[in-house]
Amino acid sequence: MLVELKVNGEKRSADVPPETTLLKFLREYLDLTGAKLGCDVGDCGTCTVIVDGISVNSCIMLAAKANGSEVTTIEGLATTSELHPLQKSFEELGALQCGFCGTGMLMSAKQLLDENPDPTDFEIRDALAGNLCRCTGYTKIIEAIKDAAKNMRAA
């Protein structure tokens, strides 16, 4: 079936089997490999993307469900001249190690800050509850989000 949606502001479409997940649609049909496959059952959050302003596990969302929606992926955060403040803070504060959970973390963090520009520690942890990391212990990720939030409020 034909699935048409907007990804990072651009109209994209592909003819896919109906059971295709949004994750597979992005990774294999649109070559946007930022969102990752970690568990495939909506637990680890590496597949997190933003659909119509809310963060979802794309591995358990059918692409067909996202038909007509606006999807934001990691590839849509930076521009040719600027990193998103979250990407900048993650880099400067050394938030990531192997990086595999990174795209999911950044998308969840972006959705949080888009809605709540001054989150408390608890609110950050709550927003990241669906993103697992095995390398870092989360501390620097949370610091980086606080740092990015501070920079975004100042801007």
Binding site: G45, M61, A64, A127
Partner: protein, 287 residues
Amino acid sequence: MHMTPMTYEQPKSASEAVALMQECGNRAKFLGGGTDLIVDLKHKPGTVSVLVDITKIPELQGIEESSEGLRIGSAVTYTSIMKSPVCQKLIPAVCEASHTVGAVQTRSLGTIGGNLVTCVPSADSAPSLMVLESVVTIVGKDGERTIPIEDFFVGPRKTCLEPHEILVSILIPKKNLGKTSFFLKAGLRKGQALSLVNVASALNIVDGKISAPCIALGAVAPTPIRVLEAESFLEGKEASDENLKKASEMAVATAKPITDFRASLSYRKQLVKVMTYRTLKSCVDNQ
């Protein structure tokens, strides 16, 4: 982890959905948020070949207050409930319960109707809806019917729905909107945790005495249950610590938890006692 080839339908009305389901029989399943069904299909591929996505059906949307009460469409997501000012004001315990489900991503897709239809004993939305004496509206080939929410749950993963029937909406009656209620969940983690035990309580204090107390427990019986014995005990009594504790003991006696790999029977009983007391006390202290 894969799903077998399936077709995807997006009916435009509840009756269209019902007709589709009748036509396809057990080849088809209703798809809500998919946070449970899609995972299930990946674990057991080939069991379903038609997915009937009901999340865009107009009758299943919306959070509306009317003279009858607060109507929540079954396709409303946990996130929508949590963010709705009307829900926050009138049914805060249901918002709190919604917040305890999974994580942000789960709540964005998962629907409150889906939680009820999946019908696991630990369903987090059930206790808080039960203590507000909610009713649910179902549409099937024979038309519409509305039943108390307790009658909706039959057993673990079994509701009273016929295969062709669809849960359309939940209504919290007007008299219970704004009734003081609290929900507590115990899990092995603070996020992405299944409830070991969950409890909701609701009550009014009238002339210094407890009026219309309701207590519901989850994950301690084949379905979420009301604790009728404790409720009739508390009715008309003073809201003393002693009475609340006694009610909690009765809740323990009503509960029939099991030992599984997450928690033991005795620990669950202890949780029921403490959590019933705490939710009751919070209701009393926050009138």
